[in-house]
Symmetry: C2
Subunit: 405 residues, 2 copies
């Protein structure tokens, strides 16, 4: 049931070495080969992500999110692990597909296009731009391609403008009746700025440096979304941080919050800023309690602030990505504090994840489990799952453990 379970003792040097090796092996011998073999469209460029259990492509449409994210993954491995030319070629393939087919009228990026790049869906929001920014930033460093560096900054500026300039993005809910803000654009803003900075230096986008954007986003999250009175981090609030006591407003997303927690801890670590680390730990502490399923294990997808029923149908399913974020957040918290609680939580979520998500026969992880851990669909990818969260987690945790050996 739990392969490698006996090795996950992060509090010993031996345990850390074994765990680092487990992450490295999964990344380089399983997950990355799976995506290069099955997901890379060597004929028409870019990546398929809609893969059946054995890697068969079952929908040739391409996610623009995952073109940017895939580029980031392959270029980051090239930049940080080894100069493997196949990884650089794969990254270039995604960059070129994005350049040829990513942008719609006015330059805003699509959400999905056909295999050969004809437009399918344009959406209101701009996560395609954030992921194109991090992909281009990592690829610029890998290749020295000057256009990629410029594009990374332009995509980030477009992301910031659409996300934060008042009135730029059409609201889903009438803004006069019920003005709402989501944490998503802020937390993705932090991660995007961090990736631009590590690959391009502390460049200026839309009038300020990446570091200044990170400060701005963290300040807003802390002031508006972090609620000590509830010990919760909200997904959505009113313009002054008001709790919106309706389905959408009460709906907590523990995976999202744990992701924000490690972005903020990572920033605190880079700056040796204990206040930021403390903020990230607080978010982790609260949202672990909100999100961990004491009955079946694993991280719930949605929870209600007041324990009321949630409207979204998949509220109690176990998705792969919140588990990836929780593995990173707990391991990073342990390395920053040495607090045994975080070693315990890390072990819990690591063991549950590695017991339930991997497919030993065909590789990669399943993405979607029922609450009790049974596989809900044999899909290995779709328009929302591709070469990103899992390889990012394996890569980040492997390197973090190498550092702390």
């Amino acid at each position: 049931m739990m392969p490698g379970n006996e090795l996950v003792d992060v509090t010993t040097q031996e345990g850390r070495s074994a765990l680092a090796e487990q992450y490295r092996q999964a990344l380089l011998s399983d997950v990355i080969p799976f995506w290069l073999r099955n997901g890379w469209d060597r004929e028409q460029g870019g990546y398929f992500t809609a893969l059946d259990r054995d890697g068969t492509v079952i929908d040739t449409d391409k996610s623009i999110w995952f073109q940017g994210r895939g580029v980031w993954t392959f270029a980051t491995l090239y930049n940080t692990v080894e100069k493997n030319p196949e990884w650089l070629d794969a990254a270039r393939s995604g960059v070129e597909f994005l350049r040829r087919h990513g942008g719609g009228p006015g330059g805003k990026l699509y959400f999905t296009v056909t295999r050969d790049g004809r437009p399918l869906r344009m959406r209101r929001y701009v996560y395609s731009e954030a992921f194109a920014a991090i992909g281009n930033a990592a690829y610029a460093r890998a290749s020295g391609d000057a256009r990629a560096a410029d594009d990374a900054v332009s995509f980030f500026a477009a992301y910031l403008s659409h996300s934060f300039d008042a009135g730029r993005m059409p609201p889903k809910v009438d803004a006069l009746t019920r003005p709402m803000m989501s944490i998503g654009p802020l937390m993705i803003g932090i991660a995007t700025a961090q990736e631009l900075r590590v690959n391009l230096g502390d460049v200026v986008a839309k009038g300020q440096t990446c570091t200044a954007w990170i400060d701005w986003a963290i300040e807003r999250i802390e002031r508006l979304f972090v609620k000590p009175e509830y010990e919760a981090v909200m997904e959505v609030v009113g313009p002054s941080g008001e709790i919106i006591d309706h389905f959408d407003g009460r709906q907590l997303n523990p995976g999202h919050a744990l992701e924000a927690a490690w972005f903020i801890m990572h920033e605190g670590k880079l700056r040796s800023d204990r206040r930021l680390i403390r903020l990230g730990l607080t978010i982790l502490d609260w949202m672990w309690k909100r999100g961990w399923d004491e009955e079946f294990g694993g991280i719930f997808y949605f929870r209600d602030l007041r324990g009321l029923p949630v409207q979204e149908y998949w509220h109690d399913m176990k998705f792969w990505w919140p588990h990836c974020e929780a593995v990173i957040a707990t391991l990073l918290a342990w390395t920053l504090t040495g607090d045994e609680k975080y070693a315990r939580w890390h072990r819990q979520v690591h063991d549950w994840s590695f017991a339930h998500f991997p497919d030993p026969e065909f590789g990669e992880w399943y993405g979607y489990l029922h609450r009790d851990g049974r596989v809900s669909t044999r899909l290995k990818g779709n328009m929302w799952k591709g070469p990103f969260h899992l390889p990012r987690m394996l890569w980040y945790c492997w390197r973090l453990l190498e550092e702390s050996k």
Copy 2:
């Protein structure tokens, strides 16, 4: 586990009487009182639908779909069961709320509004109009209100225009790259026309009678969506009925198809048209096989045409409404044919539904079960579940059995 199970023998007169009584009791002693007690907003008009297990309102926002659908339910009971003044008052409350608060700029109806009727969401599509049409038609008959009769026709005309006039509704997917049509607007068109006709006579909307619209919609469904080579009814096809071999195009919705099946059988019954009845039976036969879960029982939400994985997360959950449609379709098929197969299918889906969905403690049905029948959420209603599918099924089946006693 299965209360009343021993009574469900629809092939005997005694079984039909007992079953009719079970449906009548559930309708008049459980479901309708639950919604009148908990869902009717006697202060500000119209209906809440976001109810916790015990009927507590947990979101005061109002679904415009369910204002029209609730009016239809209460007014239809008044028209066909008894002249209960509370039902007429409840229907009037919904009609008046719709008149005051339903329409946005240009008259198109909202999807959701606040408790006091301020706008929240406007969507591309026009199901709010279809449900406002059937509500107003039933209310016009119940009350003699001439404006309601006019409004019913106007809403139906708006529905037809937005749904079927080329270029009127902005497409979700780029129409040059991948033109797509859904079965939903056609099948809801049939049911809307049937309800206008039964309550107002065969009125003209957008240039032709309700009966002519029904013929038009059934012809399109049969020609474009019904696929003998796959023994399947598609949810989505290309403009000439092409199979679209991508996630969305392959995705079958058995509950939807079973609903279309009984709309068509009902039309065939009214007209004594054996060809229409045969079409409805064919859809039922194929989609029962596609939808029935041989392992756990119940009707799957989505299936893939080619047995591939489906992208939607709740694909294998058991929702209350496909079960309501399946109970009607199988019972109607049995009464029309006397074929023992349909009695058996009816018993299967009736027993499974009544064993898993009802809440004997607080009344009404749960809406959302896991594949194995365990309750996923204790919600009794939300923006998608309210006083419609379940009372419609109980009312239709009760009356059908009374007819065939």
